[in-house]
């Protein structure tokens, strides 16, 4: 990998050793890679979708925080 940037590399790479782990979740039938920020919240890292139109959806852009909420539904 070659980083070609005007930023000093030690600034860019600082903290690269302790990156949060990613996990895969299901969001409305979509597979999304997220990093957990708390037990009930996670931040989207990337989409694992093959439908290009999914990547234009504003609710699932990377960086978006998703909250986990159990809900009651009619049986």
């Amino acid at each position: 990998m070659i980083l070609w940037t005007v930023m000093p590399l030690d600034l860019v790479l600082d903290g690269a050793e302790k990156m949060p782990a990613c996990e895969e979740i299901d969001y409305g039938g979509l597979k999304i890679m997220v990093e957990k920020t708390s037990p009930v919240e996670c931040r989207i890292v990337r989409l694992l979708s093959t439908n290009p139109q999914d990547f234009l959806r504003p609710d699932i852009q990377p960086g978006q925080v998703l909250a986990y909420r159990p809900v009651y539904e009619a049986r």
């Binding site: 070609w4 590399l9 990156m19 990337r46 989409l47 290009p52």
Partner: protein, 257 residues
């Protein structure tokens, strides 16, 4: 008395429920404000665009993240997300043009080149605007659009690619680096008006940058050297996209006839 079931004539015994007289509408402070301001006040959100638009805006900011996930203090543009978005834009019938907003400090060479190649190979017209900075790998991305703009205060740092990490000081390392640099050189030269001689001159100039060789090209100079097509900001870029979209439509019409 029989119950009156005529829906038109009301039953005389039953008084119609009195409707309290409608209060005169308060001189509504709210009414004057549009939905956008209300949104900002109530929700703290600035989701402004409500009108349908035929162009899409893509922002290339911070570091262009490539094969390695960068630590969270970096603002990054994730190429694995940008690329399918470009496919979606190319495929979506309602989107007719693309506006690229650039303010990047560079990043992964291969990720940057991938984005640049994808933008360059799209059939839909694209216009790029360099705001603030379009450094290093930002340069090929800026030139990849059909037409490019730079604001007068923006700068583009042009400097040679460096190897990061452990480098074995052998001839092959040098050759590899030169090959990588050549990929970028070829892309920029073939997608802009800059000559190979001028590009190499900018790349290897000494005494201009304090910690590196290369050049910092600002606004008008970028246009003068042929890297960027024109000086301009958002309004110029938007009208250029629409102009290119119209031109493409007319060309398509001409073919059909």
């Amino acid at each position: 008395m029989l119950e009156n079931d005529n829906p038109v004539i009301p039953n005389p015994e039953i008084e119609p429920p009195r409707v309290p007289e409608a209060e005169p509408p308060k001189p509504a402070r709210r009414a004057k404000k549009n939905a956008t301001t209300e949104n900002i006040e109530d929700m703290g959100s600035t989701e402004v665009p409500t009108a349908k638009t035929n162009i899409h805006v893509m922002t290339i900011i911070g570091q262009i993240e490539g094969h390695m996930v960068l630590p969270p203090q970096n603002k990054t543009t994730k190429y694995e997300h940008i690329m399918p978005q470009l496919v979606a834009i190319e495929q979506n019938q309602e989107i007719e043009g693309l506006l690229l907003l650039l303010n990047t400090v560079g990043g992964d060479v291969e990720a940057g080149l991938a984005i640049a190649e994808m933008v360059a190979s799209m059939s839909k017209p694209s216009v790029s605007v360099v705001l603030g900075g379009g450094h290093s790998i930002g340069v090929p991305i800026a030139t990849s659009a059909t037409y490019s703009f730079i604001v007068e205060s923006a700068s583009m740092t042009i400097h040679p690619i460096r190897l990061t990490g452990l480098v074995i000081g052998a001839q092959s390392s040098f050759d590899y680096l030169e090959k990588m640099q050549d990929r970028v050189n070829k892309f920029v030269i073939s997608h802009s008006r800059v000559s190979e001689k001028k590009w190499k001159e900018l790349l290897f100039k000494t005494g201009e940058l304090s910690r590196d060789i290369g050049t910092s090209v600002i606004g008008r100079d970028a246009v003068k050297f042929g890297l960027i097509d024109e000086i301009g900001g958002v309004s110029q870029a938007l009208s250029k996209v629409q102009e290119l979209v119209r031109a493409k439509k007319e060309a398509a019409k001409g073919l059909k006839q």
